[in-house]
Amino acid sequence: MTPRLVTLDREDDFEGWRNAARSLAASAVPAHQVVWQVGDQRTDLFAGAPVDLATTRPIMVPGDFVRIARCALLHSEPQRFALLYDLFLKVLDRPSLVRDRTDGLVHKVGALSQAVLRDIHKMQGFVRFREVQEEGVCRCVAWFEPDHHILRASAAFFVNRFAAMTWSILTPKGSLHWDGGRLLEGPPARRQDGPDADTVEAVWKTYYAATFNPARLGTRAMMREMPGRYWRNLPETSVIRDLVSGSAPKSGR
């Protein structure tokens, strides 16, 4: 059998992956016979026949699988499409497998999905808007660097929360712009495309410093929950060094 080539539109193209997985499964194509790629970047020069999506017919899989797959597919791991197709075939065979976390493959895919959920959660917490004046109107603009392809999946959260504002979230993987009624997607951005200051940040740092309790210094928990790679986009982290060194003598007293 010649290997099949599936080309997905985008890194987070779940619908595309699902359609392809269904028709591949309908023709009983085994997982190792499929090459997955996004856009035109060829992942394997020798990959062969494109997949005929016409053979798609409804296939039932447990809701748990769909939930996990939707998340895991956003992971930056290049093998994720293949891993998910592999699991898809096994779940078609035995639907209950998806709940068996002692299974190696389920475990692996579960870990991908957990990492994506965590990234989404961190983005909800760590995006920092800065206000800019644009032809007399305020726009809030944030620069954020997610680990995975979560930008589009995160849009609803920010729209629901900041519906009456106009805002943009810029990331190296793409950008989102909300004008108060419509959401537009834009190309990848660079850090310098966003504003570099906001007057309220000084007040926020004052709060951050005052709410810290030096008698309870415990940087390990802080580092675990707010790893260093996020720091450069969080204005309050610029005062951490002073807080920690200022608190050292006190706790020794």
Partner: protein, 415 residues
Amino acid sequence: MAQLDLSEKLAILADAAKYDASCSSSGGARRDSRKGKGIGSTTGAGICHAYTPDGRCISLLKVLLTNSCVFNCQYCINRAGSNVRRARFTVRELVDLTIDFYKRNYIEGLFLSSGIIRDPNYTMEQLIDVARSLRQDHHFHGYIHLKTIPDADPDLVTRAGLHADRVSINVELPTDPGLRDLAPEKSRDRIEGAMGRMRGAIEDGKDARRRFRSAPAFAPAGQSTQMIIGADAATDRDIVSRAATLYDRYGLRRVYYSAFSPIPDAGSALPAGRPPLLREHRLYQSDWMMRFYEFSPDDLAAALDPLSGMLPLDMDPKLAWALRRRDCFPVDINRAPRTLLLRVPGLGPRAVQSILAARRWHTLRLEDVARITVSLTKIRPFIVTADWRPTLLTDRADLAALVRPRATQLDLFSR
């Protein structure tokens, strides 16, 4: 007093509020600002927006309206007799600050509490006015937690629930003598009376929502309380049983513990030192055992040292319990019911769920268990699998030494 600018006020009033352990923004109703004007949403789950070097999460803007107080609670830095700098926000300042922070995605909302100025009713009205203005003038849909003053008029206390997601009334000290000596102006009867009325109001609110969809939400994230640990003579046994009664009687969502911090010019009724921070942590762990691991307060007694009535500091209470109740082990991973699996040190509710799901299809071996737990070494002495049985291990006198965690830097959290 020289005029303070907003930043100076914030520094004082955030500093004064940091002894409140709660910063949780979870448990609220889901809402958003898609329809109409305004700003904000709650997802029900709570989001941490930053972490400070004490390892705690910042979810809410946690401040006092003022740190002036006419009461004189001995343990409190803001008491009337204390020498601290005083500050006070206007309602407007606090509302604007909350919105400014929220718009920039720094916070989930506001946790507002206050020293008592003039009298309890006046103070309560001010607190409610901040929440009212946020909700009505600014259509703020973010999270609001209001600390309420038990001595205020009952309908003021319940009015707080109309604007707030969560309300709290602090019991302050775990024992009656503690409260009498250290907070003579407060009374257990008035505190618990207010908690009881709040429970009633919350339940009525839920009931009304069930019948009329348009009924206003009333404190949808429920009520919580806080106890100060280490300021009075209460043992962990006293604290655990008081907490259990409070959960039971007032339907609380959470009981928070705050380790007593020695303050300048403290009265002689107070201990000179702070309790170990680990003690607070162990109490939270015992709280989780009751809330998520199905231990009853009576079960929990076995984890306490029988003489001192204290939880051990050098290991978590679940492990301490297991070492005292070796007769319950080993637990057969392939056959034991949920409640017994939950008692195995190192197995959390999620791992137990996975075991129950997996064993419907196959018998579990040690390597299967390894995939769903953090440390196999820690749990191995307590379990039986298809390929493993801890021969006599649970009888060894040195078992504690084998499974006791090595000393590590303590990380604290109180969410």
